[in-house]
Structure formats: C-alpha cells, structure tokens
C-alpha cells in the first residue's frame, strides 16, 4: 500500500494544481513534495536491507496479454526513490523566485514528473516500466517547451524525438523478450530475466543494443549525447535540475535493472564496447567543458563526464563498481542540482551566465561562495565529500578491470578539477566586474535550498555507510542473477 501511496500521491496532488492559476500553487506543491519525502522516509524505516523487493503490489492490468501493475522496492530502487523525493522539494523551493505564468500547471507537471520517475524506479513489470519511462518524457517536454529559454521549440523537439527513438527501440526489444518468456506470455520481470538469459549469445547481443541505446540516450553516453547540452541550456532551471538530477538516473537504473540481468551474455559480449564509449565520453566531455564560456553548458558537459564514469563503473560488472555507481548516482544528483541552482542565482542577479563577465562574487556574497565551494568540491571529488566515495570506488573498479581504461577514466578527476575550480575562480574570486558589483548574498529561501545540499554533500562524504547498506544486498543479488 505504501508503494501505491508513494506513486499516486504526487499525481493526485498535481491534479489539484492544474486548477490553480495563482502563485499560491508553489506553496502547495512544496507541501505536497515534502509529504512525499516523508512517505519515502517511512519506507526507509520499514525497509529491511537484507531482503529483496519489498512493499510489493501486484494487480492484473491487461490479463489476456500478461501485463500486471506490479511494483516493488529493493535497495537499488530505494536509493533512487530517496534521491527523487529529496530533490523534488528542493527543486520546487529553488523556483520560488521565478514568476511562472500558469504556476499551477508548472508545478502540476513537476509533480507528474516525480510520479513517473518514482514509477520507473519501482516498476517490476516490463510494460509498466515502459509506460512510466515514456510518461516521464511528457511533463519535462512541456516544462521545457512552455517555460524554457531561447530557441526552445526546435531544441525540445530534438530532445523529444531523440529520446523517443531510443525508447521505441527498447519497446521492440521488450516485445521480443515478451515473446520468449517461458510458459504463458508475461511482462513479469523475472520471466523477462529468464527469457533473456535463455537466448543464445547472438540474440542477446541484439537485445542488448536495443535496450542499451535507449538507456545511453537518456544518460547520455557518447555518442548519443548531442541533445543534452542544448536541452539543459534551454530548459528552465527547475527543468534542468529534473533532467540532470533525476531523469538521467533513469538511464543508469535501466542498465542496472533492465539490461545487465536480462541479457548477461549480451552484456559480456559488448561490455567492453560500452565501457570504451563511456570512457571516451568522460575525456571528450571534460575537454569540452574546459572550453565552455557559458556556466550552464559547462555543467551540462561535466554531467556527461560524470555519468560516463558511472556507466563505466557499471559495465565492469564488478561489485565495487556497482556500489560506487549507486553512491555516485545519489551524489551526482545532489551536487548537480546545487550547481544549477548556484548558476540560477548568479543569472538572476547579474542577468548573465557567461564566465567572462563575472568575477569577485565572493567579495559581496561570502556565504554563497562558501556554500558553493563545498558543492564544487563535491563535484571534483575531494575526500570527505560525497563525490569522493563514489568516484574512488568507480575508478578503482575500472582500473582493476582494465588498466588503460582506469587511467583514462581517472582523468575525470584531474580535468574535473581544472574546469570546476577554474570556473569557480573566475566567477567567485578575482576582480569584481560591472555585473557583480551589487551582488547580494543568499536570502532565506536560497539558504533553505543550498544548506540541505551542502549538508548532504558533507554527510554522505563522511558517513557513506548508511546509504551503501541500503543497496548492498540488492547489488549482491544482481550479481548472483548474472552468476558473478
């Protein structure tokens, strides 16, 4: 029942918001999302890390086709559910400064998005997974289309068609698996696992690519990333946060839940290719991030680099790599929302996000600069920040898997330090520019967003164990399924 409440509460709340025209909607949306966070905390308390999927609900949906409304939460899901419910209130709060036209629809869409994302992380039926997967695309498309920046029409259309292309190919893969299920046909996750694993290696290779492309586009992995910088840049900041903080985790989660256990032989055959693409993405995106002049684009490219490392860690199919990926997903989500919020604050006050026209913000806004440096250090993976735990485990796993791969993957730490610290230096330190002359320090609202993020970055960095424990059993279980 708790799962149903978790999934449907944002939806029910959003239906109310669509009727509200006034700015009041934002307060109600914040309340609704905090309640949602509370629900997920209850789940954490009741959750037993040593067990598999819990809080399972299963109803027959389309009986004759073997489609069930089947949800459940295991350790891997729970971490992402927690990430989603933690970030959504912050994202809503971060948008309080903006006056969005039709605020009711805006916040309604954000909550529908939250519902779809939670559905993706909880679905245990292939068809249901696909429905939620696609449903997540509609609200974010409309958020970007209606409240986005320049040139949003073509950019969002490209984003939509790109991701939909991947999804449809995945659908073909899922239908193919559905026809291979033993006994009566069904989309049940275990039946799909059995179906996929019973296939010969070559067929598994085809299914691998059908699913992998969808996930790779969502993350995005090089060379499927071309939609991402433009979309991040054009989307309104809450949209960018949703895309980068949570939505790209759908792709990583998809690999973990719907790719590796489904076609282990296919993964074995192609994982070095996937690993290579991920590592190329790390280096390529890091280099591009260095030359960006626009802060939002810089963070967009840094995200490709970080996600590339997570993907690389996963495709080592190693326990350390997978655990590192889990913790890094959480860390990346929190850090990147913080970074985009910082850019939003800067852009709102100076009406520019060009690095060259900024500088010396710290002189006027020391609190802001201190908060930001913690987040930036989290991003460059300094020890005792959340980024360090994940990146260390990931690079370690890649290194053990393949020395050269490890060396190249490791450049993310160096290059990351270059572009993050450089941009911090050019915006926060140095001479005060005309744009930053009257830069005001954080107000209460902004503190309420940034402080939890800073606290999370530090706390996870110092005490990663509670989070690691949540996903540990689920990761072990996954490795058992693929026989490692």
């Amino acid at each position: 029942m708790l799962t149903l409440l978790l999934i449907f509460w944002p939806l029910v709340a959003s239906l109310v918001f669509f009727g509200i025209k006034s700015e009041e909607a934002k307060k109600w949306a914040l309340t609704a999302s905090i309640i949602e966070f509370a629900i997920s905390l209850v789940m954490v308390v009741l959750f037993d890390p040593s067990q598999g999927a819990q809080f399972v609900v299963k109803y027959s949906w389309v009986e004759s086709l073997g489609i069930n409304f089947h949800l459940g939460i295991d350790g891997i899901s729970l971490l992402l559910v927690l990430l989603t419910t933690f970030l959504t209130p912050l994202i809503i709060l971060s948008s309080f400064k903006h006056q969005y036209e039709n605020a009711g629809s805006f916040y309604g869409l954000v909550l529908v998005m939250e519902m779809a994302l939670l559905g993706v992380f909880a679905a245990l039926d292939g068809f249901l997974f696909y429905i939620f997967w696609e449903m997540a695309l509609i609200p974010i498309y409309f958020i970007c289309l209606r409240w986005g920046g320049v040139n949003r029409g073509p950019v969002t259309l490209k984003f939509f068609i790109y991701t939909l292309a991947g999804s449809l190919i995945m659908l073909v893969g899922l239908i193919y698996l559905y026809f291979q299920t033993p006994g009566s046909r069904t989309f049940d996750i275990n039946a799909l696992y059995a179906a996929g694993q019973s296939l010969p290696a070559s067929a598994q290779g085809w299914v691998f690519w059908a699913m992998f492309v969808a996930f790779a586009i969502k993350m995005p992995i090089f060379p499927f990333h071309t939609w991402q910088p433009d979309t991040y840049h054009t989307a309104p900041t809450p949209g960018t946060m949703l895309l980068s903080g949570i939505m790209l985790k759908m792709g990583i989660y998809g690999v973990i839940r719907w790719l590796i256990p489904v076609v282990p032989l296919g993964v074995e055959r192609w994982d070095s290719t996937a690993l290579t693409l991920s590592i190329i993405g790390i280096v390529y995106a890091s280099l591009l991030a260095i030359i960006q002049k626009d802060l939002k684009r810089l963070i967009a490219y840094s995200s490709i680099a970080h996600v590339g490392l997570i993907a690389a860690g996963i495709f080592t199919l190693d326990r350390i790599g997978l655990q590192g990926a889990m913790i890094q997903m959480v860390s990346h989500g929190i850090v990147i929302v913080g970074l985009f919020y910082a850019i939003d604050i800067i852009a709102a006050r100076t009406s520019t996000q060009e690095i060259s026209s900024l500088g010396g913000i710290r002189n006027n806004a020391p609190v802001f600069a201190s908060a930001l440096i913690v987040i930036v250090l989290g991003s460059v993976a300094l020890p005792l920040t959340s980024g360090f735990v994940g990146e260390f485990l990931l690079i370690n796993a890649v290194f053990q898997h393949n020395t050269y791969g490890g060396v190249f993957a490791g450049t993310t730490m160096i290059l990351g330090a270059v572009y993050m610290l450089r941009s911090f230096q050019f915006t926060m330190l140095g001479e005060v520019s005309t744009a930053t002359k009257t830069f005001a320090d954080l107000d209460t609202h902004e503190k309420w967003v940034l402080y939890p993020i800073v606290a999370a970055v530090v706390l996870i960095g110092i005490f990663p164990d509670p989070l690691m424990n949540i996903s540990e059993a689920a990761v072990d279980n996954l490795l058992t399924i693929i026989g490692k």
Binding site: E134, R146, G153, I161, A165
Partner: protein
C-alpha cells in the same frame, strides 16, 4: 440487427420531418435514436445470429464494430450540430448521414459479397452528396466530384473482383467461398488470384492506402470539416473492418499468395503518408495524411493476420476515432474564425483557450502514440500482432514512421504552447463541443490506462 431498423427508421423519420415540420425535434430524436441503436447492439452480443437468408451475420466482430460506429456517430453528431443548423436542408443531411450509417453497419456485418457491395455503395453515395454539401464553395464541389469519380472507379474494381470470385466459387456467400477455396480451386486458380488482387485494389481505395490515396487529401480538404471528420473516422472504420472481415474469412487459406501485395501497400502507406504529412501547411490536409498513415498501421494487422488481429484493429480504431474526433472538433472551432486553417492559426491557443489547447495536445499525443494515451497501446498492440507472425521488419518500419509522425503532430503542440499571436480574444466553444471533447479525452485516457476494456473482447 435491430439497430439497422433503428438507423433506417431515423433516416426515414428525418425525411418525413421535413414534410411534417418536425425539424426542431430532429436533434434530440437523433441522439436518443443513436443511443438506442448502440443499446440494441449490446443485446446482440454473443448471439451470433444470421439474418436475411444469411446475408448479414451479427457475430461479435460485427457487433463490436457496429457499436464503435454508433458511438462515434453519436459523438460526431454532438460535434457537428452547427453544420446542420446552419443549413436549410437539415433533414436531407441527417437522412444522408443515417443512410450512410446503415451502409457502414452492413460493411461490418456482411456475410455475403452482395451485402458488402451494397454497404459500400449506400455509404459512398451518401458521402458523395455530403462532400459537396457546401454548394457555394468551389472546393466542396471539386471534392464531391473527385470523390465520386474515384469512388465509382474503385467500386468498379471491387465489383470486377467479386465477379471473378463468383466465377471461381459459384457463390457470394463468405462461408461457401471460404470452403471452396480451402478445398482447392484447381485450374481456376489464376481467376481467384486476379479476383483477390482486384478486391485489394478496390478496398485499398476505400481505406485510402498508398498508392490509391490520391483522392483523399483533396477530398478531405474540400469537404466541410465535419464531413471530413465523418469520413476519416466512421468511413475508415467501416472500410477497414470490411477489408479485414473479407480476407480473414475467405482468403486466409491462400494467405501466402496475396500477403506480399498487402505488405507492399503497407510499407508504401506508412512511408509516403508520414513523409508527405510533414510538408503540409493546412491542418486539414495534415490530418488527411495522418488518417492515411493510420490506415498503414492498421494494415500491419492485416498482413500479420492471426488470432489477435481483429482485437487489435478494434482497439486501434477506437483509440484513433476518439483522438480524431477531438482534433476535428478543435479544428472546427478554429475554422469558425479562420477558414482553411493552417498550423499558424493554432499559435497561442494555450493562452486564448487552455481547455481547447489541452484537448488538442492530448489528441496529437494520442495520434503520435505516446503513453499513457490510447494511441500508444493501439500501436503497441499492433506491434505485438506483427511480432506474433514474425514481421519484425514491419515493426521497425512502423517505429521509424512513428518518429516522423512526432514531427508533424508536435508542430501543432509547439504552435499552441510556444508561438504567440496578435489575436487576444479567447476562442468561444459551444457547450456541446466542450462535452464531446471531455468525453473523447476520457476515452483516450481511459482506453490507454485500462486497455483491458477492449482487449480480448473479440
């Protein structure tokens, strides 16, 4: 079966209303009559009864499609009240519509080729007149004339095909034809195949499959918008149901011989219609090509032809009809201020009338096949049908064309939500349109969220 009497009765009543001056009563009577017809059809469920010395058979297939037609007609009437009220010839128009509904019901329930022919002709002749019902518009006249010429041409093919089949099997009865063919036709084989090809050509004209679609965009564009809505929903449903019924009952034993032809039609229809639709400026023409493209998707289930084909067609046409009615209702309202609407006329609709814009967005998303709307499950179900028979290539093609579809459906969404307009007045929507839109939205969402309502019925 009784629904045919009701529909014919309403048509006659409508003609009498002109003489007896009942014109005011006509609209309520029509609505009640259609509800009654649908209700009577429900009573026929599972009865599997044959009528008129086995000319019509109301099996579940026939009943299901007749109900879809009756319900669509009901929604269509709510949508097009203005079309009738504006005219001095309201009774003629209502009568023509009802006669064509009778024809449509024949087309989904025939068990004799003579009834198929009769159904198609009754339906088409009424529509030739309706297409030209806007006497003062030269385009409407053109549409009627074109439709008449092309339609009668196609009927010629159909009739020739029927004659050939009769020559081989010495019967018009579907069951007899089927058993004769499965017993083997020996040296008359060539005539049989020629007959089948001619039937395919004739029916492909009616469902406007490429390359027999050339009439469709012109006719759809020239006809009054509500008549276009009628043609692209009810006529399409009836024609496709007739197509599938014939080939499923009679020619499934010689499946291998004709499937190649239909496959070519499918590939062409999917590619040509979707690519051409991208280049349309007029929304009506775009919808015309979209309707052609949906015929292409439906053809996939004919190619695959297995146990769940019929069910997938039923689901798909229901999803398609509910979305298309929305699209035409919105278009109708836009056209009330601007004849010959192009995509730009949808600019800023989200501000001028958010409800209308939201409805149109749902319709476009459903037609494009985005979950959780009905259009998605329809496509998914067709894909499964194709997979079941091993047509993975067709599925991949359909995936590709769905992506092209996004491009032109989303143009309208982008226009509504992104582009601005200098018109500031809000768009007035009559009450019955609001109701139609609400019902169709509910259907689009309801079928999408609970596909079990329709899946597995037949």
């Amino acid at each position: 079966m009784n629904s045919i009497f009701v529909l014919s009765g309403l048509a006659v009543f409508s003609l009498l209303a002109e003489i007896l001056n009942f014109r005011r009563a006509i609209f309520p009577v029509v609505i009640i009559g259609l509800i009654a017809a649908a209700g009577l059809l429900v009573l026929d469920w599972n009865r599997d009864a044959a009528f008129f010395s086995n000319m019509l058979t109301f099996d579940n297939y026939a009943v299901a499609f007749s109900i879809v037609i009756a319900v669509t007609a009901l929604l269509w009437f709510l949508m097009s009240r203005k079309y009738f009220e504006d005219s001095a010839t309201v009774t003629d128009r209502v009568a023509l519509i009802f006669f064509s509904l009778v024809g449509a019901t024949f087309m989904v329930s025939y068990s004799n080729l003579a009834m198929l022919f009769l159904g198609i002709e009754v339906l088409s002749i009424c529509l030739y007149v309706l297409a030209g019902s806007n006497f003062t518009s030269i385009f409407s006249n053109e549409a009627a004339f074109k439709y008449f010429l092309m339609g009668s041409f196609a009927t010629g093919f159909l009739l020739f095909g029927i004659a050939m089949i009769y020559g081989v099997t010495a019967s018009f009865d579907l069951a007899t034809i089927s058993s004769v063919i499965s017993d083997g036709t020996g040296d008359k084989e060539a005539w049989l195949y020629t007959g089948i090809i001619l039937l395919i050509v004739g029916l492909a004209f009616k469902i406007s499959a490429v390359p027999f679609h050339f009439w469709a965009p012109d006719v759809y564009e020239g006809s009054p918008t509500v008549v276009t809505a009628f043609m692209s929903t009810i006529v399409k449903i009836a024609a496709f149901a007739a197509f599938f019924r014939l080939f499923n009952t009679c020619f499934s034993t010689v499946y291998d011989e004709w499937v190649g032809v239909v496959q070519i039609l499918t590939v062409l229809t999917l590619l040509v219609s979707n690519i051409t639709a991208v280049y349309q400026h007029s929304v009506k023409r775009m919808l015309a090509y979209s309707s052609v493209s949906h015929a292409g998707y439906l053809l996939i289930s004919l190619v695959a032809m297995n146990d769940i084909s019929a069910s997938s067609i039923l689901y798909y046409v229901s999803a398609y009809a509910s979305a298309t009615i929305i699209a035409f209702t919105v278009l109708h309202n836009i056209e009330s201020e601007e004849e010959d609407a192009v995509v730009d006329h949808f600019n800023g609709l989200a501000r001028r009338n958010p409800y209308l814009a939201a409805c149109m967005a749902v319709s476009m998303l459903s037609l494009a096949g985005i979950p959780p709307l009905a259009g998605f499950f329809g496509k998914y179900y067709l894909f499964t049908v194709a997979f079941e028979s091993g047509y993975v290539g067709l599925v991949l093609l359909a995936v590709l064309t769905s992506l092209i579809g996004i491009y032109y459906y989303f143009r309208i969404i982008i226009a509504m939500y992104l582009k601005s307009t200098d018109r500031t007045t809000s768009v007035e929507v009559p009450l019955q349109h609001t109701i139609v839109l609400a019902i169709c939205m509910l259907l689009s969402l309801g079928f999408g969220l609970f596909p079990g309502l329709l899946v597995g019925l037949i």
